[in-house]
Symmetry: C2
Subunit: 386 residues, 2 copies
């Protein structure tokens, strides 16, 4: 009998997302809003369920014990020395420091935009996810998926931009990978960056620590990255050129942590899905109520104009150089002052507070006093923004 | 003056690859052979130059000091405890254990193939790169780039397959990312997996340790993964169905290390570009001469037949469940016996030896005694094999 080279039939459990409703993946499943969240919660989390993953943070934080358990189980043949313990820096891991890991793929379109490009964005995005875990960056990996026919000069330009962004942060790219797909099977260039960082002892930032009375601080103007990208795509022209706010938030976060210490409860960079999706996710996972003051939200006039033109709510538009810090009220002013003393946080403001409603909802108070419940982004209005 | 939203002009150093010769990226730049290597060495390494990267291994190995330097520089506010030092497992990091990091994107086509799918391949591939650093796996990250319109059922099937492969290795997926690109801008599904592992004290496997007289051991039959994929693409039929050898090599490598200890000098899984490219890379970077005995290379008859039909040299065809071990001669028999005692290494053989020519060349002795210099894969004969 001649067996043909076909694949085996799948006989596992059925897809947990009803395929009658969602037979295929849609752009909105990657837009950072409610459909993205459904895909993660219904399909990905059940598959990969484990304690680190279910925290749903920007990255995973691993205790040193997790690492050592793997190594400790081995036979450890050959030489062994305690010499490294003599260095003072080992005190950090001894004192309960943990390893932070984060991964992101970047599919932004266009690849080059005012204020940055896919390379700098990929470095900043991953550095920021580490920072949001309270981690100091240690290493980056870079994996490229290139479409056949992509200009070699453009590849060099992107790689140069990655180098500059990584060097500015003092973080080495320690390993990488390159794949090429046929013309028409990619879109120029996709980049994955994975980041490793160390969370010092005493730093514990996670949505679960948000508590009633906490101040919600925002490091500056919102919706800038998203509207910079959209203005290029839509060919909009303004008095002032819109530039992406893409930036490494690490130094600002260090200042926040140095000032706030344990009073810093949650950190989050509101990227895909904007400030609305980030706050809704935190509120939901912490079962915390939030009240936002819409008047306090900094939206530059040209960004507001572009949002109105395109029918977008600035709260749903992506940021790549802004940070939300949820902090204990007794330290809020000191932390706000510290943020404002740093160039990346010069426009930092108090935008709201955790309430004692514990309903997982974010309420926005409008300038005329009305209240509405803030929803995360649900559609696909800004695909491929990062 | 109205400024338009254009990007800034690039004014950095010129592309180090002559764009007159290579104006664009070609499929061969991703095929794992000499053009891939040119792209890495001329364009990527100069951009990201640092000691960990320039080792050109399957992954990077970071000393604990590198991690601690990042954490130790911080103010470390708040609580600090030495409690974790009480656990015996900390002895591993204290004794000079290091962290291994590896990243790979998978663009294999078709997504489902005999013996596996893109999901199991992505997990095995990254676990194997960790194993080739002598590391025990600790954590995986998973980043998906999905094409709009991809069947939800197929996504579930892939994710289920990743889960099964990760669970079999006992490694958690600790964080992830999902992006969706428009129809026609991707090819169903691309997956990036990044792996973290711990290299126990005393384990030091790196191409630079290859030395004259060392035995070159191969864990089993070659070219099986590549020909399983190609037989599906080309619609070939054989007496026996060709199944990919995709597998987690971690347990086999543990057995090799437990038996060989410091006598294990180099480990490598010959994936893209096949055994030829892997050996040429090791020979070149170690400036070692190698002599291979072609008769000793295990090539199953149906694989040989398929290779002849398609005009391919089995030495250039990808493997996803095979391992090359370069070991000191005084331990070669013990290591070979240990490999053969494990199911993944039952067909392990001695295929050659490091010579004292130190010319960075791999010479193959044919069954009739002739010698030829082995070249790495140069073309694009097997695009998207992983």
């Amino acid at each position: 009998m001649t067996a043909t080279a076909t694949t085996t039939r799948y006989a596992g459990p059925a897809c947990p997302i009803p395929t009658a409703d969602y037979p295929t993946v849609q752009l909105a499943h990657g837009a950072g809003g409610s459909l993205s969240r459904m895909l993660v919660e219904k399909l990905l989390l059940p598959a990969f369920d484990n304690p680190a993953l279910s925290v749903l943070h920007d990255g995973a934080v691993l205790a040193a014990e997790d690492l050592c358990a793997a190594a400790g189980a081995s036979a450890s043949p050959g030489r062994s020395t305690d010499a490294s313990m003599a260095t003072p820096s080992m005190a950090a891991l001894r004192g309960g420091a943990r390893l932070a890991v984060t991964t992101d793929s970047f599919v932004v379109k266009p690849l080059f935009f005012p204020g940055g490009d896919i390379g700098s964005l990929a470095v900043h995005g991953t550095l920021n996810d580490l920072a949001m875990c309270g981690a100091r960056p240690v290493a980056l990996t870079v994996a490229l998926i290139i479409e056949e026919g992509f200009a070699m000069d453009d590849l060099w330009r992107v790689v140069t931009s990655m180098r500059a962004a990584a060097a500015a942060a003092g973080v080495p790219v320690v390993t990488g990978d390159t794949k090429v797909v046929e013309r028409g099977k990619g879109d120029g260039l996709f980049i994955n960056t994975t980041g490793l960082g160390v969370v010092p002892a005493g730093v514990d930032v996670t949505p679960a620590r948000a508590r009633p009375g906490d101040a919600i601080l925002l490091s500056g103007a919102i919706a800038v990255h998203g509207m910079a990208i959209m203005s290029v795509r839509e060919g909009l022209e303004f008095e002032t050129r819109l530039e992406s706010d893409s930036a490494d938030l690490g130094p600002l976060v260090q200042r926040i942590l140095e000032t706030g210490g344990e009073a810093v409860h949650v950190l989050r960079d509101p990227t895909r899905g904007g400030v609305a999706s980030a706050l809704c996710e935190i509120a939901d996972s912490a079962r915390a109520g939030m009240l936002l003051d819409e008047r306090a939200l900094p939206v530059p006039p040209e960004v507001r104009g572009a949002c109105e033109l395109l029918g977008l709510d600035p709260l749903h538009v992506a940021n790549e150089g802004k940070c939300i810090a949820i902090v204990a009220p007794e330290r809020e002013q000191a932390i706000l002052d510290a943020m404002r003393s740093h160039p990346s946080g010069a426009q930092a403001v108090l935008v709201g507070r955790i309430t004692d409603r514990r309903d997982g909802r974010v309420v926005v108070r409008s300038p005329i006093g009305g209240e509405r419940i803030l929803e995360p982004l649900s559609g696909e209005q800004l695909p491929r923004i990062c």
